[in-house]
């Protein structure tokens, strides 16, 4: 009994409610005429699309920088990589990995500057990260208009310059990961093996990294910066490293997202993306200063499950589009919940 109580306090009521709610949705789905196999397939797909963004939260949480509201910086790097890949006409797996390879250097450079900045503003990271992210996105909006891209699939036809808002990657790297070893059962169930393998591979790398000397030091910095300092660790360096890794994961994440979704979305599209990732990892049980691989996987699954199931089930049951509102309330509610919980490390 005590153990259950302990579990409840550790995990938190909001998360348990969300979990039960999702469970209820799955049970209710067949009764309101929602195909369960299509839903599950959809959940897997969206899980794969978004898991890397959620994973990108881990290093910064671990190093004590808090939630990465500035993930859009990484996403921008990814967008640069993917547009360059399309510009160079890379296709298939080449296109995908080309985009990733082109994005990573930008992500490292952006992440490095972003990390330096966050080191200067300890204690205010989250608010500043958010606005740095916003400002970065708006700056890139200008850049998308004036950078000299020429590939006709990407450029506005009538003006001859400036990138389109939405660029199809059909014929470049659309679904290259999804289709890799994909398992089709019936008409509606597709298991995107390749994408999930890639996600698992990234998660494994992160798991390994957290076990290296540097990863261990990073966790210690987040857990107790004074202890780490007394053990000869430079907190600033570790924080910068964590920010760079987070940014790189954001960049890779958006390319994975694009190949599954089929489009590159530019301009203001990245503005809102970090919030979904933040909500997901918090739903997964992470706090503002502690996160594990389990939090990532559970969180991404729960959150994406919720996003998939609420519209289909609730809307068919109530004949309204109320799911949007539920989504807003749930995802922001969980962030508020995490922010207002007393945490040990207060700076």
């Amino acid at each position: 009994m005590d153990k259950i109580k302990q579990f409840v306090t550790d995990f938190g009521w909001p998360r348990i409610i969300i979990f039960l709610f999702l469970l209820f949705l799955f049970i209710a789905a067949p009764f309101v005429g929602v195909r369960i196999d299509a839903s599950i397939s959809d959940v897997f797909n969206r899980f794969g699309q978004n898991a890397l963004f959620v994973l990108a939260m881990v290093p910064m949480i671990q190093s004590g920088c808090g939630l990465n509201f500035g993930l859009s910086i990484g996403i921008i790097a990814g967008l640069i990589g993917s547009t360059l890949s399309v510009q160079f006409g890379l296709t298939g797996l080449m296109g995908f990995f080309g985009a990733v390879a082109l994005a990573i250097p930008f992500a490292v450079i952006f992440g490095w500057f972003y990390g330096l900045l966050l080191n200067k503003v300890k204690g205010e990271e989250m608010t500043i990260a958010m606005y740095v992210g916003f400002a970065g996105v708006m700056f890139m909006c200008i850049m998308w208009l004036i950078l000299p891209y020429t590939n006709s699939t990407m450029v506005w036809g009538y003006a001859g310059k400036g990138l389109r808002t939405t660029i199809s990657v059909e014929g470049y790297y659309r679904q290259v990961l999804n289709d890799f070893w994909a398992i089709r059962i019936g008409t509606d169930f597709i298991f995107p093996t390749g994408m999930l393998l890639f996600v698992v591979f990234c998660a494994f790398l992160m798991w390994l990294f957290l076990r290296t000397k540097t990863g261990t030091a990073m966790t210690a910095v987040g857990s107790n910066p004074d202890f780490a300092r007394a053990s000869g660790i430079s907190a600033d360096r570790m924080r910068t490293v964590s920010v760079i890794i987070s940014t790189v994961l954001g960049a890779v994440g958006i390319v994975v997202f694009q190949q599954s979704y089929g489009f590159i979305q530019l301009y203001t599209a990245p503005l809102a993306m970090p919030f979904a990732a933040v909500a997901a990892i918090l739903i997964g049980g992470a706090s503002v200063n502690k996160a594990t691989m389990v939090n990532v996987l559970v969180g991404a699954f729960l959150f994406q499950g919720l996003l998939t199931m609420t519209p289909s089930v609730i809307n068919s049951a109530l004949k309204t589009d109320i799911s949007e509102v539920i989504r807003i309330i749930v995802s922001n509610g969980i962030i508020i919940y995490a922010l207002t919980r007393k945490t040990k490390v207060t700076k």
């Binding site: 506005w156 808002t165 301009y267 203001t268 599209a269 503005l271 993306m273 979904a276 989504r327 995802s331």
Partner: protein
């Protein structure tokens, strides 16, 4: 710091606060009354039964002393007014006849159809509630914020209009 409040002061404050709540409620009601808009539809048409005909040559109609508008026979005109008590002055364009009527409306009457011939003739009821046949319906719109940040597909809050190709 604990502060012991004099019971006298406390009662006084309670009274003041209660009074303020009353004033607040009163203000709401007052604003409702003063600000309530009504629409007059001034109708200068012959009556269906032919008992009365529209004034020939048209009328000048002024509500609450505002600038008068000309209404010719067979015409309708709309006037928005604030509050419940109004004066309608009808002058024939020839300037011979002048009729002044004071009207008091119910709070919940939105649109009133005023028949000018009846009004001029002083024949009750010269005013009836007007119910529009069909509510203005525009093409169905998708309500709500056009996106939420939780759905990346929707593409983020987009305060900027982006040209489409």
């Amino acid at each position: 710091m604990k502060q012991v409040i004099d019971p006298k002061v406390r009662t006084r404050r309670l009274l003041v606060r209660a009074a303020l709540i009353v004033v607040f409620a009163g203000l709401v009601v007052l604003m409702f009354n003063l600000g309530k808009l009504h629409t007059f539809i001034l109708d200068n048409k012959n009556l269906a039964d032919g008992s009365l005909t529209a004034a020939r040559g048209g009328n000048l109609v002024s509500i609450d002393g505002r600038e008068a508008s000309e209404i010719y026979p067979g015409e309708r005109s709309m006037e928005k007014v604030k509050g419940q008590r109004h004066t309608i002055t009808v002058t024939s364009l020839s300037g011979t006849d002048k009729v002044v009527r004071r009207i008091s409306l119910d709070l919940d009457s939105e649109m009133m159809l005023v028949s000018l011939p009846r009004l001029i003739a002083g024949k009750e009821p010269y005013m009836e509630v007007f119910v529009p046949l069909n509510v203005v319906t525009t093409a169905e719109e998708r309500a709500g914020t056009d996106n939420s940040f939780t759905s990346p597909e929707a593409g983020g809050t987009d305060p900027v209009v982006i040209p489409t190709p």
